[in-house]
Amino acid sequence: MLSPDIIRRSAAAQAAALHAGETSSEELTRAHLDRIAAVDDDLNAFLHVSEEEALTAARDVDARRAAGEELHALAGVPIAVKDVVVTKGQPTTAGSKILEGWVPPYDATLVEKLRAAGLPILGKTNMDEFAMGSSTETSAYGPTRNPWDPDRIPGGSGGGSAAAVGAYEAPLAIGTDTGGSIRQPGAVTGTVGVKPTYGSVSRYGLIAMASSLDQAGPVTRTVEDSALLHELIAGHDARDSTSLPDPVGAYAEAARRRDVKGLRIGVIEELEGEGFAPEVRARFTESLDQLERAGAEIVRVSCPNFEYALGAYYLIMPSEASSNLAKFDGMRFGLRVIPEDHPTAENVMKATRGAGFGDEVKRRILLGTYALSAGYYDAYYGSAQKVRTLVQRDFAAAFEQVDVLASPTAPTVAFRLGEKIDDPTAMYMNDIATIPANLAGTPGISLPSGLAEDGLPAGIQFLAPARADERLYQVGGALEALLEDAWGGPLLAKAPELAGGAAR
């Protein structure tokens, strides 16, 4: 008989249960679908639940397992996919009204990999519209709520994936991180999220916000689960020119190593002071103390140009986004609004974009269009690219001294819904610690550091040099074990029971 708490186990433990014949993928998938049915009306983590498809995939895996077929380690473990990733036959909206009802005719490369490995796809998770936001409030389909407190945001843009994993609706989820959209939601929901090295995971099939910054990655409850999922979705893809040719690293092995002796950890001076909430800072410092006691060496490093990273990011990202979003014009797919008066192609485009895009998307399109305009290009886009180079140099200099860098993932715990939605610059400040890694293409992980202000989770972020993602799993796995020993279990166990959730 299936234990009702199986959905609270890690994905690795669920996979082990499947392997041991303790449960079937169909049962496991059904348990998660039941959980979604029970709690998601309140959370709104999912935009689409593909019950039949998931169960069919689960039964297929069960049959293959029964036939003695060699299966992927995660085969049969269900997963949720951020709605910015295209899924053949499943609606994909990127959280925007302009794509309402669009069903892609093809799968993203990472989705192909999930399907090939036999992971039933539970559905598509909510997100800020086109991944533009830090709270999931800009979704055209209503905000996702934080499982720790329904009045709080779950972070963004990938609030749906983080909330789904945090609320046990899914053991695994896919996120995308352009400026922190995997890591910041991880921090404020007490979950784990990894932004891999740029190019580690194919972008083919990710609806682009900013092509040079976007990177898909794992959203999970444990570091090991992230490592397993990262190994599955990574690898060279001939359909993405920016995909790295490197072989996939041994991330899970690194996550299980639990050894940080001699590891040099650099604390980024520019990312721990002003603007960071006291308890968030306290949990960060305590985490570092744990690592130091375990044999790591903690040093302070300066990355002076990180100060300009946010400004550069908010030029480069909107510039690329303004261009990437030009294709949403009502001509070939998605929403088409036909104005009554003089419905020329140009007027259809205008009406469609006017009605289909939300305010934040329009704001960024305007910013980007302006930044790329003749006469302004050098001052804005050109200067921002120079800052990007300087940020990369800061990283390079820092990694001469240390193996990994550390900072709090986000400046504060989850804020209240509506608190910052009308103050874009305050909202943008959420990404201050996460953005540098996107500008440099380097990898980052966020994992829970403890409970901070208002008893809500805070996150710690580690950053590694490009292509050294293993180090993140090594330090993350070690810290997670140390903290869970101190807490007496996972941080998520401290989360309040959800109203609709009877499964404990």
């Binding site: 083919y204 682009a208 092509s211 261009s323 030009a326 070939r332």
Partner: protein
Amino acid sequence: MTTTDITPVDFDEAIDRYDPVLGIEVHVELGTATKMFDGAPNIFAAEPNTAITPTSLGLPGSLPVVNGKAVEYAIRIGLALNCSIAETCRFARKQYFYPDLTKNFQTSQYDEPIAFDGWVDVELEDGEIVRVEIERAHMEEDAGKNTHVGGATGRIHGATHSQVDYNRAGVPLVEIVTKPIPDTKGRAPEVAAAYVRTLRDIFRALDVSEARMERGNVRADVNVSLRTDPSAPLGTRTETKNVNSFRSIERTVRFEISRQAGLLDAGEQIVQETRHFHEDTGGTSSGRPKSDAEDYRYFPEPDLVPVAPSRAWVEEIRAALPELPAARRRRLLGEWGFSDLEMRDVINAGALDLIEQTVAAGASAQSARKWWMGELARVAKDREVEIEALSITPAQVAELQGLVDGKKINDKIAKQVLGKVLDGAGDPAAIVEAEGLAVVSDDSVLTSAVDQAIADNPDVVAKIQGGKVQAIGALIGPIMKATRGQADAGRVREIIMDKLGVS
């Protein structure tokens, strides 16, 4: 009075008063198997919207990947035009909204073209060589094709709706941009057309494109400006878009020179704008103003990594370049021993390839030239088709000439056989065989014909025997007639002289 009311100036007068400067942008569609940035087939005239992938349709999530073959072709073109090849270059996005553009930006190259700073020599009809400087050659993708339904003549004006076919979207293009072409004076129209023709020939020689003008494989944007004299700064130019035949290019330049001269004479300003050429009137009309307000917001394409062709690869491509048309013409001129004038006539008639293939099939150069520039050129003219469109192959022409050379048939019969080949009756030797057209040189047949002729024409015989040997023709005529022209005339003459005892 509006500018459109101003009467164009006579072309020769315009040239007397103004110095024209040309600038030509040529787009060539590359004949790669797949498109520039995705695996969709690069084919002409498939069912609408069938040669597409998520990428060439610009679907959300799709990404481009550079077609290596297209890069190779672009380098071939660059090298053939004596350009430098960039060690590294990037694609850029040229952004504007139009329904035929799937992403609402065109992936092109902006300030980093794959090839730059080249030149090409253009030979005019009279043999004069004009060197055209090449600014750059860059790679880009074609757009889809809009069809406007419900209005007159397929134009958007008056149309009720439009349809878009994205089969062409993403087809690889190379755009070749000249530097300003000065000093062409009254030959400007001819230079413009000859330049594009030269490129067309180069594309074909390089085997990078079918380069068929009528299919739009090669399209020219023709820039024309006038200045008062060659030392003056460049005048304001107009750009006539998508001119797609050599004749139209000439007419465009001629018309624009006359039109602009008319405006300048009247003290008007030339408006910098794009214009459209009209086949029916031979004139151009205003398109859209091309002012500084047009801002494509170019920026480097972040979905693509830079293209960095290794020097070794570039040299490999250079070494494998085929013989280019100009060099080939020089070589053939030497091999064939034609006069310069003969050679130019051959080139202007589009018969160079045909003659070369005929020679390759065994005919002498002069005999090949005689057929193609003589009888076949006449037939082509009568039938109003291009000479290469005639339904006869160089091998058939060579076979025909072989029959003449081997004295199987004479020239007169050869022309008859040629007509039959053109009418689809088969190969020359088979026609001669089947229809019994071979020369009759059998002495027994000829002797009896001669005997008959001698018997029928005693007075002629008397003349010949009386010393008027040239009267022998009067006997040969009836013999040829009796043998339907197939008698070996030389042998007939010998038999007559023998019979009549004259020498």
